[in-house]
């Protein structure tokens, strides 16, 4: 177990493209950190550099305080779980799990003890003498985990370990990975493109985009205070709704009607020297059917009348998709840039449709107007030009 720290770590390919740019991160001992981002954001490259499978072009990588840039993977004492599991097909489960120990010349009875122990932990005991080809996807995944834990490594590196499983199994394995990590307390770096996995697993999350770190923080921090438009759009499901607007006289003018902002927000915006043109973001969960909001809470927010086009009932919630006025022509370009930036494209929640997450008690009906309440304290404001979060 060890700390891992990246200092100005950069990966530059011979053709000049930078897969990872100036990454700075301190991972503490026993921490579970998740690298998340869309495909091509450099998260796997970053992981491979920690593993030693790719060279570091510049910067320092320290494991346990020691610079390991020049060390081969075998001298870094880390274990890795691959998306494809990468089990050796010609070896049995037992041989697969024993392989790293055998290479390290661990005595045979010690190997047996550790393999048996790991197999029990992962409920693989009865499959020890089978070949990977005869195992199900979930079992293969567990063998890959087993091969990593038998070594008692300094750190676990996991490269999208659950992506090849079906949704239900993925959920189960997610819980067991979390439990395993809490039990073993080994520093873990986990790469995924799935923000749900990131939110549920990570002690901290690092969001990457085009090789550049966007934000690092606990799942709640990322959710509550996204540093920029990209993080705001990436974290949370369904993703945040965006709409351009203007700040004026302590209030917000946007196509959904003028909103007076809470005094505290206005003060912070002033401190931040917020520009006039902003992009307003609001999470689906910060909406509610106005009839279901009472008292002081109702006064915290603002109410508008909307006509839902689609209602999706999830049992615990109802997702309402409703059209919003198209922004002025001059603002459409801005909005499209935002959608592209966030990677949501034409998905609901961008463009001219908003999505709201309502209580199942709502009486909203498709194509019938109803009053929708939203929490003005929970509005996220971003600089329309730089995408930076304002007034945080």
């Amino acid at each position: 177990m060890a700390t891992i720290s990246l200092e100005h770590v950069t990966k530059r390919y011979p053709d000049g493209t930078e897969a990872v740019r100036d990454l700075n991160l301190d991972i503490s001992d026993g921490e579970f950190i998740v690298f998340v981002g869309p495909s091509g954001c450099g998260k796997s490259t970053a992981l491979n550099m920690i593993a030693g499978l790719e060279d570091i072009s510049s910067g320092d990588l320290r494991i346990g305080g020691k610079v390991v840039n020049q060390l081969t993977p075998k001298d870094r004492d880390i274990a890795m779980v691959f998306q494809t599991y990468a089990l050796y097909p010609h070896m049995t489960v037992r041989q697969n799990m024993a392989f790293p120990l055998k290479i390290a010349k661990v005595p045979q009875d010690e190997i047996n003890r550790r393999v048996t122990e790991a197999a029990e932990l992962l409920e693989l005991t009865e499959h020890l003498d089978r070949k990977p080809a005869n195992l199900s996807g979930g079992q293969r995944q567990r063998v890959a985990m087993g091969r990593a834990i038998v070594r008692n490594p300094q750190a676990f590196l996991m490269d999208e370990p659950l992506s090849n499983l079906d949704a239900k199994l993925r959920g189960q394995m997610r819980t067991s990975i979390a439990r395993l990590q809490q039990r073993l307390k080994v520093t873990t770096v986990y790469v995924t493109h799935d923000q749900t996995e990131a939110m549920t697993l990570g002690d901290r999350i690092m969001v990457l985009r085009l090789g550049v770190m966007q934000q690092v923080g606990t799942p709640q921090e990322l959710y509550d205070y996204p540093a920029n438009l990209f993080v705001a759009g990436f974290i949370g499901s369904p993703s945040m709704n965006f709409m351009p607007g203007q700040l004026a006289d302590g209030g917000l003018k946007w196509p959904l009607g003028d909103v007076s902002l809470p005094a505290e927000v206005v003060r912070r915006l002033e401190e931040d020297k917020a520009p006039r043109d902003v992009i307003v973001g609001i999470r689906p969960e910060n909406f509610e059917d106005a009839e279901l909001v009472e008292g002081a809470k109702r006064d915290q927010g603002s109410i508008m009348s909307v006509k839902p086009e689609v209602l999706e009932s999830l049992g615990s919630d109802v997702l309402a998709y409703f059209p919003v006025p198209r922004p002025e022509a001059s603002q459409v370009a801005e909005l499209e840039r935002v959608a592209a930036e966030v990677g949501t494209g034409d998905a609901p929640g961008s463009g001219s449709t908003f999505v709201a997450r309502l209580s199942p008690a709502t009486r909203a009906r498709v194509a019938n107007s109803f009053d929708l309440w939203f929490d003005t304290h929970k509005l996220h404001l971003f600089d329309a030009h730089t995408g930076r979060a304002l007034g945080r």
Partner: protein, 295 residues
């Protein structure tokens, strides 16, 4: 609504019932073509076997079936060293060439498939060019070179040209197999602490075994079947291989053609090839890598 739908359903049903007839007809035509092809290929072999088992007195009776079965031809060629010694040469030279060629090719193919090094394209190009070079044009210079350096009429004198001609083929075949092995396995082994040599020996080579088997058969067959080098670079039974030795068979008298002995020898030299294929065929099973990755 139903009235409209009905004809569509009927048409669909007709198409479905008509469909199985096509494969049946195709099957029949395929079977015919196959039978003809197999008969065409196997008939000369049968003729050879029949000749080998005929008694020398009935050799020219014009029948494709031995009327009088006899081992005379076989006992004849195994009497004395005219065939036995070349057979030993053939086996020895063939096996040694195959082992060396496959070991070298396995390493070279791994490099070609997995590493990027300067001059890789050139190396592949040149090796392919060697494989395509007509052997006959090299026989004369090689004859002279081998005589000058004392390799003429020795085992190494044949093994070396066999290596030169079989290596490109072996490298090419094997590198195709290596490319099939998922990269992640190698990365996993690397993270598991294996050195490059351990990765190759414990992970890559075992997985390439089907490819190695296939290549071995190809190389062995090339060496075993070779006639042109064997006849040109040998002069006595010290190194002469079986196919070349058959050209020196003599009949009972100098006026009889040794057709029976040649047929028997031909049957004998076919046997190792059959054995080789039977042994290795079980290894040439695709799907050795199934289970490595999600499949």
């Amino acid at each position: 609504m139903t009235a409209v739908a009905a004809p569509t359903v009927k048409r669909a049903a007709r198409v479905r019932t008509a469909a199985p007839q096509m494969p049946a007809r195709r099957k029949a035509s395929w079977a015919t073509v196959n039978v003809i092809t197999v008969a065409w290929t196997l008939f000369p072999i049968w003729w050879l076997v029949a000749l080998a088992f005929k008694d020398p007195t009935t050799l020219t009776d014009g029948s494709f079936w031995p009327n009088k079965w006899s081992w005379t031809n076989f006992s004849g060629i195994f009497h004395g060293s005219a065939f036995v010694r070349p057979l030993i040469n053939s086996i020895g030279i063939g096996v040694i060439s195959t082992v060396i060629s496959v070991v070298l090719a396995t390493m070279a193919a791994y490099a070609v498939a997995r590493l990027n090094f300067p001059g890789k394209g050139l190396l592949i190009g040149v090796s392919l060019m060697i494989a395509m070079f007509p052997a006959i044009s090299l026989v004369n210079p090689m004859f002279n070179i081998e005589r000058a350096i004392g390799l003429f009429n020795t085992w190494p004198g044949l093994i070396i040209p066999y290596l030169a001609f079989s290596l490109p083929l072996a490298i090419y075949t094997l590198s195709a197999f290596f490319r099939e092995i998922p990269w992640d396995l190698e990365k996993a082994a690397k993270v598991d602490g294996a050195s490059q040599r351990q990765i190759f020996m414990t992970v890559i080579a075992p997985l390439a075994l089907p490819g190695i088997a296939t290549t071995s058969i190809l190389v062995f067959m090339f060496c075993w079947n070779d006639f042109i080098f064997a006849i040109s670079l040998t002069s006595t039974n010290d190194a002469r291989t079986a196919p070349a030795a058959m050209g020196f068979f003599t009949g009972v008298s100098q006026f009889t053609f040794p057709i029976g002995s040649i047929a028997a020898a031909a049957v004998i030299i076919t046997i190792p090839i059959v054995i080789f294929v039977v042994i290795f065929q079980r290894r040439i099973v695709a799907g050795m890598t199934s289970g490595a990755v999600k499949g």
